[in-house]
């Protein structure tokens, strides 16, 4: 393995793939009502969805750009240059031969199985693992679980979608939620009936139709009373995207006594702006957990939120962000306590290197009457060099005296004492640094399914090569 490759593989992703304009259909550049109508018509959507989209378009156009986060990068977005909808057709995508060597090598080094690589590289529109997929799908069907891409969900379960779509994150929530609501495509729709425990994690890979998986995904997960489900989004392979704006919306509804865990590991190519709105509603005795790993991208702004609206609801947000050269990870969490005896914990870890910038931006809000609420926030930042930067903006709005709120934030450098100790055992400086970094993110990694944990550790190792030695 040559070492020169690794840094450029993960580090210089902007070259990625070149789409040879083979897609069968795409909207023209820019966005107006005609483009929205075109998208909706192409999908044969019901009238209410077109209406929803058009209304959202108006909200998007009327809203100013946020004045926080990374305004410099946000202000530079040229919405007229973006193609908002592209549909590639089966058999007309790129071929494996067209996939750049660099990407193939990264897949190699990440240990991604053959079948998966073709899917990830956009060669096949579907993860080619039919046997696995069918056995999962059969079991899910037997339990009455719905697991579809969002477009199919809308087509096959219109009433259910209509009941919940846009209720957790209304289109006027923020400019990018409005944009997504206007032009969304792809994403997942999951419904788990009352009392059903979904045994295996649902992974976006295994959906029937993933060919629209793209820039403006829309995911809606409903866990009905007493049910439980774990959904996994993304993977550690770098995701290349021709257009640099990615703006997803993810809505979760955990009804009484239900449990949802939503795990994300994303490694966007480094040209991507990843501006995502994720929010969950947790009813009485429900639990929602966001496990959110952010690598890659030029700018990520993402603050998974949980609204604890029923007594004893519980929320957890566990996140890591890795910011390398030229990257800004502005991530965090929001937890709203709106009922008595609700509990939450936020654990945020960030690593910055080579001048990368990681910010924690959090909101904890306890409404009057949410007596007995308990909140614990912990943010740890690890800086790998002098040029890197970490900021913490924790906002607390506590309107209830009978609530317990804890907050702890640390910023540390890779300690000279730790490096010295580990090197005195014969580890190289690079090995010692990687060991310290892996230890730092261990509380996150241990929450991942085994194969993701292994992939994430490999990916961190790749990110770190180049950093030291």
């Amino acid at each position: 393995m040559e070492s020169s490759g690794a840094g450029s593989l993960v580090g210089d992703y902007q070259y990625g793939f070149h789409d040879e304009e083979r897609s069968v259909f795409q909207t023209r550049r820019g966005l107006d009502a005609d483009v929205v109508r075109q998208i909706s018509a192409l999908k044969n959507e019901p009238a209410w969805m077109l209406e929803f989209r058009l209304k959202a378009l108006g909200l998007f156009q009327g809203r100013p750009m946020p004045r926080w986060g990374n305004t410099e990068v946000l202000d530079a977005i040229d919405f007229d240059r973006i193609i908002y909808y592209v549909r590639a057709m089966e058999g007309q995508g790129r071929t494996w031969e067209e996939v750049p060597e660099g990407i193939k090598r990264t897949f190699d080094r990440l240990g991604i199985p053959e079948a998966e690589r073709k899917f990830l590289a956009g060669v096949t529109a579907q993860y080619d693992s039919e046997a696995v997929y069918h056995s999962i799908q059969a079991e899910l069907e037997q339990q009455g679980v719905i697991f579809l891409d969002m477009d199919s969900g809308l087509r096959l379960h219109g009433d259910l979608v209509r009941q919940y779509f846009g209720t957790v994150i209304p289109p006027n929530d923020n400019k990018f939620a409005a944009l997504n609501s206007a032009v969304w495509s792809g994403g997942s729709f999951v419904y788990v009936p009352p009392g059903v425990q979904v045994r295996v994690p649902l992974q976006a890979y295994f959906r029937i139709n993933t060919r629209d998986m793209g820039q403006f995904e829309r995911t809606l997960i409903i866990a009905d009373e007493g049910s439980s489900v774990h959904y996994i989004e993304g993977c550690t392979a770098p995701i290349w995207s021709s257009d640099s704006l990615h703006s997803a919306v993810v809505e979760l509804v955990a009804r009484k006594g239900a449990r949802i865990r939503y795990t994300t590991i994303q490694n966007w190519s480094k040209n991507v702006l990843n501006l995502v709105t994720k929010r969950a509603v947790a009813h009485e005795d429900a639990t929602v957990e966001w496990v959110d790993g952010n690598l890659g991208s030029r700018l990520t702004m993402k603050y998974p939120a949980i609204h604890l609206v029923g007594p004893r609801a519980h929320g957890e947000v566990l996140s890591i962000a890795f910011a390398g050269a030229g990257q800004h990870q502005d991530a965090g969490a929001k937890v709203i306590h709106a009922a008595p005896d609700t509990t939450s914990s936020i654990t945020s870890k960030s690593i910055s290197k080579d001048g990368g910038r990681a910010s924690y931006r959090g909101l904890v809000k306890v409404y009057p009457g949410a007596r007995g609420a308990r909140v614990n926030v912990r943010c740890d930042a690890l800086l790998l060099d002098e040029d890197s930067r970490s900021d913490t903006w924790p906002t607390m709005e506590i309107g209830e005296a009978r609530a317990a709120v804890g907050h702890e934030a640390t910023v540390s450098k890779v300690s000279e004492e730790q490096l010295y100790y580990l090197r005195s055992r014969g580890l190289t400086e690079a090995e010692a640094t990687l060991m310290i970094v892996n230890g730092f993110i261990e509380p996150f990694v241990k929450e991942l399914p085994m194969e993701y944990a292994v992939e994430l550790n490999r990916l961190i190792a790749l990110e770190m090569e180049g950093a030291v030695g």
Partner: protein
């Protein structure tokens, strides 16, 4: 009898320290240390707190906080001062830390396995577990420590046991054991001493850096050096430790006559 044993050693010199001077900031701590350790020898470096004896072990290991101002150190014939910390370790130098740092999130097992792998001893998982279990047993370390974060929340005694466990697994040429006896109760002291003795039987040369002569009841040195004001003020056989025990360090201050 000890004098006899002393004469039996007489191996090749593995560590030769000549006129070593080192400082932190503008404070000179080592002021011309001379020390020669031969293969198979056990030395005790004794001295008051603040005499510079711990600094000596860190300067030899290559701690980045210390600046070497002069002198020469040869380890197995190589210029030790030109080697980085990793190279010194891989050449066979080991330092048992007085206060090893915690590395949160890195389990003892992962750490030890990575260290061995990095040094070219990539053992199959089963064999590694077997070796680890035996070493744990030898040092009275509970099995649950295998899955705990390295030195994280460990008591002083637990840390010392783990340092000696590393000494056993790494099989260095020369081990500098810095205040390994401090903070240990008598049972722990015996276990830790037995670990060091087992390494000595394996052929490891040892320099015990200690304030008290307590550990010397269990680990018997061939040579004893008294450290004072950043240099070796006096050297002798094991009897020197007994004199120190009886008369304290003060009599060293008096000029030898």
């Amino acid at each position: 009898m000890e004098a006899d044993r002393n004469q039996q050693v007489q191996g090749d010199p593995i560590l030769e320290v000549r006129d070593l001077r080192a400082s932190v900031g503008d404070r000179a701590i080592l002021r011309g240390v001379d020390l020669i350790v031969r293969r198979g020898e056990v030395h005790a470096v004794m001295g008051r707190n603040g005499s510079g004896k711990s600094t000596l072990s860190h300067v030899l290991m290559g701690h980045p906080a210390y600046r070497v101002d002069g002198g020469e150190v040869r380890f197995l014939g190589r210029d030790l001062l030109q080697m980085d910390v990793t190279e010194r370790a891989r050449a066979g130098l080991f330092l048992g830390f007085q206060q090893p740092v915690a590395v949160p999130g890195v389990t003892v097992t992962h750490f030890l396995r990575s260290v061995l792998r990095s040094r070219g001893r990539d053992l199959p998982a089963r064999e590694f577990r077997g070796i680890l279990r035996k070493a744990f047993d030898e040092l009275g370390i509970a099995d649950e420590f295998a899955g705990r974060s390295l030195n994280d929340g460990f008591s002083g005694g637990e840390r010392k046991r783990l340092e000696v466990l590393q000494l056993r697994l790494l099989r260095p040429v020369l081990a500098l054991m810095d205040e390994t006896d401090s903070g240990l109760d008598i049972d722990a002291l015996k276990v830790v001493s037995e670990g060091i003795n087992a390494s000595i039987r394996d052929g490891v040369s040892v320099v015990l850096v200690t304030h008290y002569q307590r550990i010397l009841q269990y680990v018997h040195p061939h040579l004893v050096h008294v450290f004072l004001d950043g240099r070796v003020a006096r050297s002798g056989g094991p009897e020197l430790a007994r004199v120190l025990e009886e008369r304290g360090y003060d009599w060293i201050d008096a000029p030898q006559a």
